[in-house]
Amino acid sequence: MYAKLHKTIRLGVFLLFIIPLLQSCYTTRFVSTHGVPMPPETMQGQDWYRDKMYGEYTAVVKTSVLTDGMMINVPKDKCESGKLFSVEFKDTFGGNLLYLVTFGSRRKVKIKYVCMIPEM
């Protein structure tokens, strides 16, 4: 009975610590000082993006010894002006773990971006 309870508590404590780690380690956001972000049609969410229309790019990228970087073009349908207001990179524990266990051949890329409002 007590052993089972202890096991449950240990599991609970483990999950309590490990889940936030898997969620995110840290977020870095590069923001324009002279741009104006595209406003959203409706406001949702409770974060910095609440008053901004944003796009997300998430992928697991396969790399090799010949890969020295990657370039992603901003999709026109999600970015009318084609100009970026902000780019956010999120480094997650899960992503780092993937990188480690695949010896660097798989990398999780998670980017959130906001485009500038088109010029009139």
Partner: protein, 545 residues
């Protein structure tokens, strides 16, 4: 052709989540793209026709209509239950040529600009900077639209300047669905643009101080403000200092704004005789839960613009762990006695950092009052009093807040008198006392925001202090006879002008719960001899229509 998307959203909220409000329909109008309609004037006029089409639809359906911009207001001033028009994609600017100026204008042509309603303070500032110009003042941030700012009376703390509406030269207002319902309104004593300009935007001209001043802070109820002509000034820099100063000195300055003869002196901000210079901006921060001998103050001094100044944007901002703050709020709902403790604990994060002389920040107005986006559900209550009453009013509000603690902190800012009939900065120098903080839930031990704001009004009334309230902030607007108590005869002057400018049907369409709660929706019979347009000497003028 401009296109409007229609969203049947059902619910609507403000940026800072001060709702949620029911709404049938949300409209968003976008101009014809530049590539297919290069002329800005044509796109502007095309946009006006689209707005009139929407108003016509509301008239047919017997429904209300209200424009809003960036949803920054925390009161329900922007809300309308039938149709809400989000105008932040209408941000054209029209070039003002020298030939567009009125022959009697005293404005310098180089300082006059014309912006469409949905242009934000940030967009306008960027455009002005291209011409070496700046707005005269803004709010504490830059996300509000120009139409939203002037309709609610957004202000900074430039105490010799005024609020945003005070540098408006002319208003282009759509008052209904017909061709004649497009109006360009100016003061007759201070004409800015000529009739030809107004006709270029298909508007008929009205020059009348009384009408202009009423429509200026129109609470969104004088029609659809489509464009705003405003007066800018040469680009300038602000040197910003944050200091802790003696509480009595801070409050004494608050009552007089007499910096030249005060003991408050920053060594590098003195005149040729070594006497303190007069700042452009002065702000005092007050934690109501701590009896301190010193207050944190912020002072800014205006300087001539030069290219050589350090980049003010180099600071890396780290966000506070927001969930911790909300946890504390939840805790305080059960144990309000903990509020003073955690406000004190968070004080370092809430208040600006104290700067030494050499650490002053130099920046343009645009850079100083930069982006302040969403940081969680927030509230703000704001009252205006004459500066002479500022200490008494602050003491009354602090005393009340100690008895009914809520998670917020006070600040005092100062604004020059507005000419707007219902402008809340109505005193010769208004001290704006505001309490800002994080939203909380009412409990048995902590009052609701509505109750707290009622206590604010009662605190002012019990001290016999004349006051006003910021239309875009939270307040108990249902407080009996509030509008008349604050503005007296000006309420009648405002409703009379509104009744004159709008037909009875349009007055109904442009009404909402906010103005009904305040008793400002009433329609008056206006004398038929009311003179629409006057010349500079106050004589009837006959503009060519």
């Amino acid at each position: 052709m401009a296109k409007t998307s229609e969203l049947l959203i059902g619910k609507w909220d403000t940026l800072h989540e001060n709702g949620v409000f029911d709404v049938k329909r949300q409209y968003i109008t976008r101009h014809e793209p530049k590539a297919t309609m290069p002329s800005r004037l044509m796109r502007y006029n095309d946009g006006a026709e689209e707005i009139q089409r929407l108003i016509k639809k509301c008239e047919t359906d017997n429904e209300g209509f209200r424009a809003y911009g960036s949803r920054w207001s925390m009161s329900n001033i922007a809300h309308q239950a039938d149709n809400m028009h989000q105008n932040n994609l209408m941000y054209l600017d029209l070039e003002i040529e020298e030939g567009d100026m009125h022959p009697d204008s005293e404005y310098e042509h180089e300082n006059i600009f014309f912006f469409e309603c949905g242009s934000t303070i940030k967009q306008i500032s960027q455009k002005l900077n291209e011409y070496g110009k700046s707005l005269k003042t803004t709010g504490a941030s830059n996300g509000q639209t120009i139409a939203g700012c002037i309709s609610t009376g957004v202000h900074g703390s430039a105490f010799d300047t005024g609020a945003v509406q005070d540098y408006v030269v002319g208003l282009n207002i759509i008052t209904g669905p017909n061709a004649s319902d497009n109006v360009y309104l100016e003061r007759h004593t201070k004409p800015g643009l000529n009739d030809a300009f107004a006709h270029g935007i298909n508007a008929r001209v009205i020059r009348n101080d009384e009408l202009f001043n009423a429509a200026l802070v129109g609470l969104g109820s004088f029609g659809f403000i489509h464009g705003v002509a405003l007066e800018a000034e040469d680009l300038f820099l602000l040197d910003r200092y944050v200091r802790r100063i003696d509480k009595n000195l801070a409050l004494s300055l608050s009552k007089t704004l007499d910096f030249t003869n005060s003991e408050f002196k920053i060594d590098s901000e003195v005149d040729e005789n070594g006497r303190p210079s007069r700042p452009y901006h002065y702000k005092v921060f007050i934690n109501p839960y701590v009896d301190e001998n010193q207050y944190v103050i912020e002072a800014m001094y205006k300087k001539k613009y030069t290219l050589a100044y350090p980049d003010p944007f180099t600071k890396i901002e780290k966000s506070i762990y927001k969930d911790l703050i909300y946890l504390l709020i939840k805790f305080s709902e059960k144990f309000p006695k903990s509020i003073p403790w955690f406000i004190k604990s968070l004080q370092k994060s809430i208040l600006p950092e104290i700067t030494k002389d050499e650490e002053k920040i130099t920046a343009t107005l645009y850079e100083t009052f930069f982006d302040a986006g969403y940081k969680g559900p927030a509230f703000a209550c704001s009252m205006g009093v004459a500066i002479e009453d500022s200490e008494r009013a602050l003491n009354a509000l602090v005393k009340m807040t100690k008895a009914h603690p809520i998670p917020g902190i006070f600040a005092m800012r100062y604004v020059n008198r507005t000419e707007a009939t219902l402008g809340f900065t109505k005193f010769h120098k208004t001290c704006v006392i505001e309490i800002d903080g994080i939203q909380w839930e009412k409990s048995k031990k902590i009052p609701s925001l509505e109750e707290y704001s009622r206590f604010m009004i009662e605190a002012m009334q019990s001290e016999n202090i004349p006051f006003t309230v910021h239309w875009g902030k939270s307040m108990d607007y249902a407080f009996p006879d509030l509008a008349n108590h604050m503005y007296g005869n000006n309420v009648d002057r405002w409703t009379k002008c509104r009744s004159w400018l709008l037909s009875e049907k349009m007055a109904q369409i442009f009404s909402n719960d906010f103005i009904k709660t305040l008793g400002l929706e009433k329609y008056l019979n206006v004398p038929t001899d009311l003179i629409e347009s006057l010349d500079r000497n106050g004589q009837p003028s006959n503009p060519i229509v």
